[in-house]
């Protein structure tokens, strides 16, 4: 059940990952599982409870099933204004 998704990183996640975008092959079934996997691999400091997730340029539930080709963004706490 491996699929390939694109992950885009912003702000603190971009710096901690050291890049802005990557393709990831994963067996994760949900965005939540994928973040846990990436966090363990790259040492992201933020817990998923402090993030939101976007799939294909809109907010999505953490438990939505991942599909091959999805584009994901994990959204750290925002600070506009």
């Amino acid at each position: 059940m491996s699929k390939t998704v694109e992950v885009q990183y912003f702000a603190i996640l971009r710096e901690q990952r050291g890049l802005a975008k990557e393709k990831v092959s994963t067996a994760a079934a949900t965005a939540a599982q994928l973040y846990d996997e990436l966090r363990a691999r790259h040492g992201f400091t933020l817990e998923s409870s402090r993030l939101r997730v976007a799939v294909n340029d809109d907010f999505a539930p953490w438990q939505a099933p991942l599909r091959d080709g999805d584009r994901l963004v994990f959204i750290p706490p925002v600070a506009g204004g």
Binding site: Q8, F10, A11, I12, R14, E15, Q16, T45, L46, E47, A54, D57, D58, F59, V73, I75, P76, P77, V78, A79, G80, G81
Partner: protein
Amino acid sequence: MFRISSEPIDPATLQRELRDVRAGACASFEGWVRNRNDGQPVRALDYEAYVPLAEKEGDRILAEAREKFAILDVRCVHRIGALSLGDLAIWVGVTAEHRGAAFEACRYIVDEAKARVPIWKKEHYAGGATAWINCATRGPGAQSTPPTG
């Protein structure tokens, strides 16, 4: 209506777009880069946005404002990139027949934009340290990283 801009914001042009002889009130808000935050001297800021979702969510906020308040028109632009002290980071302008709706909608938009739109702010401090605002964790890693430029 809600735009992310990597160029300096031009309030005069935006406000001209709002001109309307039905409007008796125009409330506007400017967010400026200030020289300290939580007591720490700040020397510059970087703003970064997830542009497609930021503009989508920003437009949703403006639509909510139109629904909640009796306003005529509205514009909001948020700057991204490297900003200096005193620079304009966000501009919101709202027209309405009457001032109550203009003020309330303007405040609503600023509050919601700060809370919901995927924009991030990195502060550069006088000593060279930096921090992504609101992203601190219990460990020291996220709070203070070497300056990036």
